[in-house]
């Protein structure tokens, strides 16, 4: 899925540093939280731009970032040099663009645990009412429902996931997982290589 990881990471790093420069050059005194926001945005945009718009999740990251006026400058700076390469061409089966949200939302563990408990309770109820283990097709439908539920949760974690059908979602997830991992590796490598001592 990623042919040359270290080359990819170098590209991500170069783009990332391009964005980081704006932290130092544009304003003298940025607050820590604003600096953090720009750093995270630079990393996300670096990833999306290196992926080059060939995946829905990468286009979703760029679209969502472009929506906020605060980000316009950074988006331009990081993606402008490559030209407008968001879409390789019109994609007929894609519907409306994502108007819903600001990208991925982290679900708390308690939400996931609560819905899992509900499903298990439902399974136990079915078993008790029959007086024996559920028949094979009942177990299969419960399994299908679980898969459906978990697939819905996954939509919130993948950029642009809310507008995807289930098959696209999992294909996008497979790709996103690997590339997101590369982004984290780059950020960690940068953090570890910078000197920590301050005067």
């Amino acid at each position: 899925m990623m042919h040359n990881p270290s080359k990819v990471k170098q590209k991500i790093l170069k783009k990332f540093i391009m964005g980081l420069r704006s932290c130092n050059s544009s304003h003298e005194n940025l607050s820590v939280s604003e600096r953090r926001r720009i750093i995270k945005l630079s990393a996300d945009l670096a990833l999306a731009s290196v992926r080059n718009g060939s995946r829905r999740w990468s286009r979703a990251i760029i679209e969502e970032a472009s929506r906020s006026p605060d980000n316009k400058g950074l988006v331009q700076q990081m993606l402008g040099s490559d030209g407008d390469n968001h879409l390789p061409g019109p994609i007929p089966w894609e519907g409306r663009s994502d108007r819903n949200g600001a990208g991925h939302v982290t679900k708390s563990k308690s939400v996931v645990a609560a819905s899992s408990k509900k499903i298990v309770k439902r399974c136990r109820r079915v078993r008790r009412s029959n007086g024996r283990a559920p028949r094979r097709n009942e177990a299969a439908s419960i399994a299908k429902r679980l898969v459906k539920k978990r697939t819905q949760l996954l939509k919130d974690f993948v950029p642009g996931g809310r507008d995807m059908d289930d098959v696209s979602l999992i294909e996008e997830t497979l790709d996103y997982m690997v590339w997101l991992r590369a982004q984290v590796d780059v950020m960690r490598a940068l953090a570890c290589s910078l000197p920590t001592t301050s005067s």
């Binding site: 540093i17 932290c23 301050s198």
Partner: protein
């Protein structure tokens, strides 16, 4: 994108059993815990999806933590001066 994948998506947003098996096995092979831990044949599709959500959520958390850490480190460091040595260190 092959035409085969396009036609399988036409008119249906529900995932078929064969597609589940194929895609979930790919997900499973990417997940560190499942790959290193239990026997792969015992892990269900829903478990794989759950682990995938956890994995991505953890990665997002790492991005946030690293952004925080970098925001403190970069207060004094000029990214340009660090770039050359860092890129060198990343060439594995």
């Amino acid at each position: 994108m092959s035409s085969r994948s396009r036609s399988s998506r036409q008119g249906s947003s529900r995932i078929s059993d064969d597609q589940i098996v194929d895609l979930v096995s790919k997900l499973r092979s990417l997940l560190p815990e499942i790959r290193n831990g239990r026997r792969s044949d015992k892990v269900s599709a829903s478990k794989v999806l759950q682990e995938t959500c956890n994995y991505i959520r953890n990665l997002h958390q790492e991005v946030d933590d690293l952004s925080e850490r970098l925001s403190q480190l970069l207060q004094t460091i000029d990214p340009d001066s660090a770039e050359a040595s860092i890129i060198r260190s990343l060439i594995m």
